[in-house]
Symmetry: C2
Subunit: 356 residues, 2 copies
């Protein structure tokens, strides 16, 4: 494991430990999260971020909301869990893993409540479901890494945007998983990391975790991605995703669309790495994905001091949508969906046991 | 005049006043430059930047180098001027206006020295040539603005990268000149400004001077340029240039190539605005333009505090090259070179009295 991004500490009365990612790379501190409001705050502030990690965090958050004295009724525990899920659902709008994990938790709670009146059994079911979501995320990252590593040859160089590494998941990450697995296979892989304004997840998080893992990483500003591709330095692009529509349109961190267009222009394959839980089969295409807009200060004061004139307007969408036609393949835990189409996405979802 | 970027203060014994651009937008201070080393330092630090302004600064710098007691010989004054020109030529490698202005100053000094032994006459010729370069830059900006304004209709929105405004020239700027002229013509033009990492010339300078001029400006990070084009918000892109090859390949601030590729992908016209002095007819294409690489700290500590892990590698090219095929037109003081080719560029240079 490159880093332990998020974990449950203790038993049923335990709590969540997660890396306080806003302080990286200069400080590596652990945040102890013991309540639903604290988890909502951690997600909103991006103390924990990355679609898969947000899903795990939300599942753990439901468990925190369902904690209480023993001997409650099933209804009491279920109601606490459902209220927590509603609160967590309002934390961030774009990453669909959040809603997917909450729905799994709601369903697990309801099934347990239907089985009998024992609140402790409902809590145990919720606890076990959150642990399963966490464990599955780790397994899924490994499988994505294995499928993705087959796309990489010794000596190649990958460009990535934002952070879809271990810090974005419970384990190896999505976009970085193929690099970690390829490295384990003794392939030498170098990485160019877009710094990823406004919040610099590339500079702060991707560069940090790659250095920790001993993988060569060169940091560039977002405007340099085109230049390094133009110079022939890049063999493939790997990025993560926050939501993928049924046709393969990929919603990911703002700037991903630019990277995809530049990759196509320069003949560089563009791969998106994501678990099936990142797909939203209810959306026919990416135009319907809600794009979170964040505070203007992320752009004008993103580094602790003001860098733009007072009074300037700011547009700060946190995500963009890359049309499926620009995506060479989507690397999932059931394999690579090459040149994605609605039919191929639906087939992959069925292969993964998800109804399309 | 939106702002007085650079000016000569006083007569033959005077000095240069320029806006200390590294302090904008939070502080608007004037730097008094009284020696060649001080001017070299101002150019290297980007206290004065933008290809046309660098040309004017270099010309004034030669005058500073040629200053001295009266009664010197022509040879003495010329040697001082030539030594100053050599020193100034080492300040920055990419913007060709620097070398063009220095060559004009050298030629003016040599012509005067050939006319007779009077050093004061040589100095006067140098002084007059620098004043002419400064005055012509202003006239050229206006003409670029007039030709460029014809490309803009009332209610349109322009995206620009870096700062090719008044702060990059002695007057209206190059890329922003069409916007200023169109505004004078009562067209309402709005601007999206790329912040332009690493040094944030868009956030610090373009946003500042557009707000000063009362023009609506929305600041975005560089990775958002593709998204706003994808959303249909942009009618045209206007950028400046640091050097243009004979075939129309445009070297400009890093990130410009990305904007050009994204504009083409989204059917948005991409215009480069530059005086003929920015053309380098000695270069057949852009592959031969020297690209300045700057310090890694601009990327890792660009905002006064470290934002990347210690030990990370950094690639920091200050410029990139946009192939001519992506350029809809180059707006010059002799008109718009549409879909530039070597033949069209050579014709424009001849029209402007420059040998191609």
């Amino acid at each position: 494991v490159p880093v332990e991004t998020i974990a449950w500490q203790g038993g049923h009365a335990g709590h969540v430990r997660l890396i306080e990612q806003t302080l990286l790379p200069l400080r590596h501190e652990v945040l102890e999260v013991k309540s639903v409001p604290a988890m909502v705050d951690a997600i909103k502030r991006l103390a924990v971020r990355g679609a898969p990690a947000i899903g795990v965090a939300a599942a753990f958050g439901v468990v925190l909301g369902a904690q209480g004295r023993t001997g409650r009724t099933a209804r009491e525990v279920l109601d606490s869990a459902l209220a927590a899920a509603d609160e967590l659902a309002r934390s961030r709008p774009t990453a669909v893993n959040l809603f997917w994990a909450l729905e799994r938790m709601r369903a697990a709670g309801r099934r347990a409540a239907e089985r009998g009146p024992d609140g402790d059994a409902v809590f145990a079911a919720l606890f076990d479901e959150s642990a399963a979501i966490h464990r599955e995320d780790r397994e899924i990252c490994r499988r994505i890494g294995q499928f993705g590593a087959e796309l990489l040859r010794d000596g190649q160089t990958v460009l990535t945007h934002c952070n879809a590494g271990g810090l974005a998941t419970a384990d190896y990450g999505t976009a970085l998983a193929p690099i970690y697995v390829a490295s384990e296979q003794k392939k030498r892989i170098a990485v160019y990391a877009d710094e990823t304004r406004p919040l610099l997840q590339g500079a702060r998080l991707t560069a940090w975790e790659l250095l920790q893992a001993g993988i060569e990483c060169t940091l560039i500003t977002d405007g340099m991605a085109g230049r390094v591709m133009f110079e022939g330095k890049i063999d493939a692009v790997f990025v993560g995703a926050d939501r993928i529509a049924r046709n393969g349109d990929v919603c990911n961190k703002i700037g991903t669309y630019s990277v995809a267009v530049l990759a196509r222009e320069n003949g560089v394959p563009f791969y998106c790495c994501a678990p099936l839980s990142t797909f939203d089969p209810t959306l026919a295409d990416g135009s319907q994905i809600p794009i979170e807009e964040r505070a203007p200060e992320e752009v004008t004061e993103g580094f602790g001091r003001r860098t733009a004139p007072p009074g300037v307007r700011v547009y700060n969408p946190a995500f963009d949508v890359t049309p499926a036609r620009l995506v060479s393949g989507i690397v999932t835990e059931v394999g690579v969906i090459e040149a994605p189409t609605t039919a191929k996405v639906e087939a992959a979802l069925r292969a993964g046991g998800r109804s399309a």
